[in-house]
Amino acid sequence: MSAVADRFQEFQDLGVDVISMSVDSQFVHKVWNDVELSKMVEGGVPFPMASDGGGAIGKVYGVYNEAGGVDFRGRFIIDPDGVIQGMEILTPPVGRNVDETIRQIKAFQHVRKTQGKEVTPSGWTPGGKVLHPGEDLVGNVWKEWNPKDAYRK
């Protein structure tokens, strides 16, 4: 959670609100923030730390683990219309890659801005090659894009 908090300014600059969620109470969130996270992130966690006591929210999002009574590490990118554009669910021992979350948000925002006229191939980052879906592109992606372009600016 501290890794997301650490990058909060970047999320804000992209117009993204962040909400964290676990089954712990808001009181435990306060103590965790005050005694530990505030030592890792200056000023403490800058977004709402929500409580999903009982896991009701985790259940509808499909991330609640009955056996452990906890929410798995689920991350959802939700667009301004309230539609889920991206999701990722990890088991507890492996943390997220915040870089990848930010990359995906930038890509979804680009697609939305162009109303889907431009789509972003694998590994796309801003300034990278986009594709224009249409009949001319069918069977011709190879002329426009090469796997070696992935992850290249």
Binding site: M21, G62, F76, I105
Partner: protein
């Protein structure tokens, strides 16, 4: 009492001799749908108590309509990752 290895997830308690869940007939099983959402679906709205900027408050997802939202679930406070 054996010492428990400290792991990232909150350890689950178990109940001895817990009653087994009844086995459902095949036809009924087919009706059981996995709960959960997927992409291109509307994010289920929720209201939840929250800690935010030193205060206790509530968060309602639909209050954020018009903005992008990253919703991050995690296994628990004071876990390691």
């Amino acid at each position: 009492m054996p010492e428990e290895q400290v792991r990232c997830s909150v350890p689950a308690a178990t109940v001895e001799n817990a009653e087994q869940a009844p086995v459902q007939p095949e036809e009924v099983k087919k009706e059981v749908r996995r709960m959960g959402v997927t992409v291109a679906m509307k994010a289920p709205d929720f209201t939840a108590p929250a800690f935010y900027k030193g205060k206790f408050t509530t968060v309602k997802l639909s209050d954020h309509l018009g903005k992008w939202v990253v919703l991050c679930f995690y296994p628990g406070d004071f876990t390691f990752v």
